[in-house]
Every structure is written in structure tokens, then in C-alpha cells.
Subunit: 399 residues, 2 copies
């Protein structure tokens, strides 16, 4: 039990709160959050502005413009949701889905399962197409589902970070539109690090998070709606259940299509500063350079790990995610001990699996600010050291 400071009030101040916060510096190379850039952290600490001050509205306008570049879209409704990645996922579903709408979800890992749950909560009739974890969907499989279920919305994950597979998106948008269906894509673990061109791909709704390739803290999450999706929202028969995520109101607050701005909610000011700065860094580098950097460093990581005798979880190079890599845990090695050793000795986080990959793999992230050659060398050295340690340990214990 914590000791309490003296007070005349029934409940006293906890002593743990009487000292300033202390937080260790750590290299976060799991599937995310990834480290924020120091420039972004400095932006987080800038003085607050009123949420309707001109200078703050300028920051919001810059976020809109910058996100259009990063998504490669002309969608006017391109904004940030005032919450973390799951809030953007929810904003997408809550606005586009009405009760009894048919939704088809591609499930090959955790995120599809989440969208299945979320769509059901909002009253949709949800069906799925499924693939084993670690596999992606072909256009034929998707079209079969679209013909079978006639959904109004189809969901698929671009970067399935629980199984570390990359879903090719070419052709899916056209297919959806042929079958009179909107396409919703999760790009939380890919946006900024892996090529994605929203307009070219005919994606209708796309969202992401700040804490991966955008090198920002979680708290404000990019989202974009095509004119087709925006029309569906504007022509809803019923109000969106959620007020906080109501796009009609949000579009107004964000001044989308040059609407005069109206107070809707108080935006998370510091999170918007941070996101603006993460976007700015990506604009400075250039999207194509960032995509190339993520590709080159991930390939270097794959080579280095294979040189250590380790096997990658996703066999086909073309299907591997460049932002998060799953590595099979060899027989006789305790994945948790390795991760703990690396955290304790190197102050470096790598993660285990999630869902079906739990206990079977390590997951190593190379995203945004953290995606450097130096970090690849560091993680390789740390893995080598940890595996040596494990093998010596098992030699000792088998003597």
C-alpha cells in the first residue's frame, strides 16, 4: 500500500505523485510505438494555443495538406482523428456503416478480427473471407467474397503487423467499385514507410497511426475519405452514433471544402503539433526516399538475421513487411529470455508474436526515425549476443 500525505480530506494525495515523472530512454524496435523523432518531441512541448486560434488552424491546415501528400490523394476530407489508431479505425466504421449494412472483412490476423467486432457493434451484417495468419489475399479470393456477399464496404489490412505480411493492393479498388462496394484499408504499420498511392489504388477510406513511420507519439491519427465515401456519409439516413467521431462535424471543424469553422471538440493541441512535425520530417526527406530507406534497411536486416542462422517467418520476400519483421524462434531458445536479455543489456525493445504468432516469433520493427542502418547493426549484434548466451546457458544446464 502506498503511503499517503497528510490532509484534512477523506482521501489523501498519494506519495507516488509528489515527485516529478521519470521515464527511461529506450530504443523501441518492436511493432510500435516506435521512437518519436527528437524534433517531434520538441514540438510536443511547445506552448498551447487556443483550439480556434489562427495559428493553430494553420497547423491543422498543414496537417491536411501534408497528409494528402503522404497518402498521395486529392481527397479534400483528409484530416487527423483526435485519438490513437483505433480511434481512426472506429471513425471509419462509425461513419460509413449504417445498421444492417453488409460489410465484408478480410481476416488474416488481429486487425481484421477487430474490424469484424467493431462493425458488428455498429449494427452491420458482417461476413468474412479468411486466410491463415501469414498469408495474403488474391484478387480472385476477394472477388469471390464480393460476389457471394454483396457488401457495401470491404475491409483489408495493408500491413498486417501481427503476422508481418504485406497485402498487395493493386486492383482491389477497381474490383470493389465494379461490385458497387467501398474499399477501406488499414495502413497503420505502412503509411510513410511502404509505397501506397490512395487515389491511384482507388481506395475509398484509409487510416493510419502516428507512432510508426510518422515518428510521432500516438494521439492523432490520419484518415482520408474519397468523394464516393464522403457522399455515403453525407447521405446517411441516421446520425452517426458517435458525436466525437462524427465526420460531418469534424469536416466542419477542420474547414474541409472551405467550410467556415465551428467549434466541435477541443482538439488535442500538442498531439497535432507533434503530428504536423512528423509529417514535416517526411516531407523534408521525400516519400520516395523514405520508402527506399525502409526497403533497404529491412533487406539488410533480413540478410543479417539469416547470416546468424535465423529463419524469417514469412518465406516469400515479396510478401514480407518492410516495417516489421517476424523471425522464427529456433528450437531450444526461449523467446522471452532473449527479449529480456536484449532489453536489459541494450535498452532495446524487440517484441514477441501476437495472436497466432505468440511464442513462435520475435517481431522487429524498423519504422520512421528508428529505421536506420545503425539500428540494424545494433539489433543484429544484440540478437547474436543473446543467442550465444542462450546456447551457453543450455549447454551449461545439459552438463
Amino acid at each position: 500500500m502506498a503511503h499517503k500525505a497528510q490532509s484534512a480530506l477523506p482521501i489523501s494525495a498519494p506519495t507516488s505523485l509528489l515527485t516529478p515523472i521519470k521515464v527511461p530512454q529506450r530504443l523501441l524496435m518492436g511493432p510500435g510505438p516506435s521512437n518519436a523523432s527528437p524534433r517531434v518531441l520538441a514540438a510536443s512541448a511547445l506552448p498551447l494555443l487556443g483550439h480556434l486560434h489562427k495559428e493553430f488552424l494553420d497547423v491543422m491546415d498543414e496537417i491536411k495538406e501534408g497528409l494528402r501528400y503522404i497518402f498521395q490523394t486529392n481527397n479534400s476530407l483528409t484530416i487527423a482523428i483526435s485519438g490513437t489508431g483505433h480511434a481512426a479505425m472506429e471513425a471509419a466504421i462509425a461513419n460509413v456503416v449504417e445498421r444492417n449494412d453488409k460489410v465484408l472483412v478480410a481476416v488474416n490476423g488481429l486487425w481484421g478480427a477487430r474490424v469484424f467486432d467493431l462493425s458488428s457493434r455498429y449494427g452491420a451484417k458482417v461476413t468474412t473471407i479468411k486466410k491463415p495468419v501469414g498469408q495474403v489475399f488474391t484478387l480472385e479470393e476477394i472477388e469471390e467474397g464480393l460476389i457471394r456477399d454483396k457488401p457495401k464496404l470491404f475491409f483489408i489490412t495493408h500491413a498486417e503487423s501481427s503476422a508481418t505480411v504485406l497485402q498487395p493492393l493493386e486492383g482491389i479498388g477497381r474490383l470493389c467499385h465494379k461490385h458497387n462496394c467501398l474499399l477501406l484499408v488499414d495502413t497503420v504499420a505502412s503509411l510513410g514507410g511502404i509505397p501506397i498511392k490512395v487515389d491511384e489504388l482507388e481506395i475509398d477510406i484509409v487510416y493510419s497511426g502516428a507512432q510508426k513511420c510518422l515518428s510521432s507519439p500516438p494521439g492523432a491519427s490520419p484518415i482520408s475519405f474519397s468523394p464516393r465515401a464522403w457522399d455515403k456519409v453525407k447521405n446517411r439516413k441516421t446520425k452517426v452514433e458517435s458525436f466525437y467521431f462524427d465526420l460531418i462535424q469534424l469536416a466542419n471543424y477542420w474547414g474541409v471544402d472551405d467550410q467556415p469553422r465551428r467549434y466541435h471538440h477541443t482538439g488535442p493541441i500538442s498531439s497535432f503539433y507533434a503530428l504536423r512535425e512528423g509529417i514535416s520530417i517526411l516531407c523534408n526527406e521525400g516519400l520516395e526516399n523514405s520508402w527506399r530507406r525502409h526497403k533497404e534497411n529491412s533487406e539488410l536486416l533480413w540478410n543479417e538475421l539469416q547470416k546468424l542462422g535465423l529463419e524469417l517467418y514469412v518465406k516469400k520476400k515479396i510478401a514480407r513487411l518492410p516495417t516489421v519483421t517476424a523471425v522464427n524462434v529456433p528450437n531450444g531458445i526461449n523467446w522471452k529470455e532473449v527479449a529480456t536479455f536484449i532489453m536489459q543489456k541494450y535498452n532495446l525493445e524487440i517484441s514477441g508474436g501476437l495472436g497466432e504468432t505468440a511464442g513462435k516469433v520475435w517481431r522487429i520493427g524498423l519504422m520512421g526515425y528508428n529505421c536506420t542502418k545503425e539500428n540494424v547493426q545494433l539489433i543484429t549484434a544484440a540478437m547474436y549476443d543473446a543467442l550465444q548466451q542462450q546456447r551457453q546457458g543450455s549447454v551449461k544446464s545439459s552438463l
Copy 2:
């Protein structure tokens, strides 16, 4: 049109994003956001941790413990919602209300109107008791409503910041429970600055924001549920529509009642750091000292403004909000010009009215870090200067 940088991509990086963010330092003395404490801003910029790292879970535990002190409650379900104040409002409604539940809303300004809309969205049968803007409710009026409508939930605003009135809360909880109803209270503009003892007052659900008396940036919002309210949530017949705000999942992620923690969503890490620090500052000062400081400085402000010949919007001292003060705009004075003059000359924000008070009053906030004697003197001097300016201006223009 903004100039674009060169790129082979269809959409180029906007030049406005090629330079680092710039934000002016400003004294925010409107109804909020109020300035965050420098210690809080420094905490915002600390390095990210994983959202399930022990050190981060410790920060979350400290937030829980600190909020129990600030709310004066033993409620185990006392956490922060991962969004701004409206997100907490929505989390309260979304979890406690099921379709066709009866909800009674006390409307005497903007926040009641918002809760009316929000409850309707979530399928409640909503009725109201109403008072003109600037007036508060008596126990008799509330009991009449409870008897008439037999609601399962009653909503009232503690600090109505649009009209700057303070609703006495004594006795309302007991009344609600007598009539088998839960009590939900909005304390966005009061928590930390005005006495409120949640357990003593038998409040069932209470929420607030970070950007007022907690001296933190908006982005993580305190909320607390009594065992009675928590039971209602646990015994729902239907799942909460919202996944992001689902308390069953959130309680689990926050380790409430010593549950083993499970990943639900990625928390807004930096916002939690900041909120923890804002809470810590309040623990250091002591709640009673903070309440006294807000009372003394607001009374000083009222005296100083009256000495300038200005009238306060709320006549009865007992009903006046100590955190935000509305001042009547005298005849012949342009409120907007005064506010603009003060912003331009003193870099200081005061605000106009909201809803029915728009154009009729200025609103001056004295909250958290900003609530000091020095700021009262500054705002008084600035008001004096601005009024002089206006009168000279009107003298000139009438010559």
C-alpha cells in the same frame, strides 16, 4: 495556392511543410484551453515507452491513484479516456446508456444540449429540465423531473462555462438514488479548481478535461464510475457500440480491480505523461490549497473588474464560477475590438460568450497554472487600457 516541391509522384510535398513548426507563446485566459504548466510541457516531450512497458503501466497506475485523490473517490474504475473532454463525455454516455433507456438532461447552456444530442445518438429516450442560461437548478426542480420522467440516468453540469454559473451539487446524488437513477456530472471546468467530493456527493459518473485546472494539454480526460454505475455497465444486455470507449476493455487495459492487463488500444503515451504531471503538481500543492487559490484570485478579479465600472454577468456571488468569469459588455463597447486589442498588445487571450451569451459578455478564465494574482493584475490593466482606447475611439468618431 501553395508552391510545391519537385517530385516524381502525382502529388508533391507542400512547401509549407518544409520548415519546422513555429508557435507563438501566449497567455490563454479564455474559458480554455488554459496554458499548460512548463513542468507538464517538459513531461510531454519525454521519450516514448511501449504502451505495455512496466514503467508506462506505473504512469497509468499513478494517474488512477492521483485522480482518486482529485475526485475524492474510492472508485476503482477511475481512469483517463484517450481523447479530449468530449471523448470522456461520450465514454460516459456510450457505456451507461442502452437503447431505449430513459435519460434526463438538465439544460442551462451548451453542455446539457450536447449531452442531449449525444444520448439521442446512442438510442436513449431523452427528456430535459430547462433553465434560462445563467441560472442553476434547485433540488425541487430536479426531483420534479425525476418523478415525471423516471429516468435511469440524470445529467447535470457542475461548472457551466458558457454562462459561468456554478451548480450546487449537494443532495442531488441522494435524490437520484432515491428515484433509482444514476447521477452523471460534467466537471470539465471545475475539477481541481472548485471543491467537489465525488463519494460524499454520491455522484455515479463524473468526467473532466486536462486543459483547464489540471494545467495539461487536452488529449487524456479523467473519468470515474461508482460501483453502482460500473455494475450497470457490466450488466448491459448489448455490447457498447464503441470499441474505443468500451469500459469493459478499458478497465482491463488500465488494470482496474487488479485485472491482468490486456492490449486494447495504444494509449496516447505523451498525453498520459502530461496528465500524470498535471495531477502531480496538484498533489504537490494540495487540493484544498488549489481550491482556495482559485477562490481568492477569482474574488480579486471580480473586485478589480467592478472597480473598473464593469458588471459581472452572474449577479449572485454564490452562483458565480470561480474558474471562468463572464463580464457584461457595456453599451457602446465592441467586445471583439477589446479582445483583439488585448491579444495584440498584451499577447493575452480573453474570450467572448458562447451560445446565448455570444456578443453580450467577455469570458475570463483563471484556471490551474494561470490562476495567479499577477495574472489578475495583468488582465485588469489590459481591460482598463482597452476600455480607455474604446472610449477615446468613440469620442473621436463622434466628434
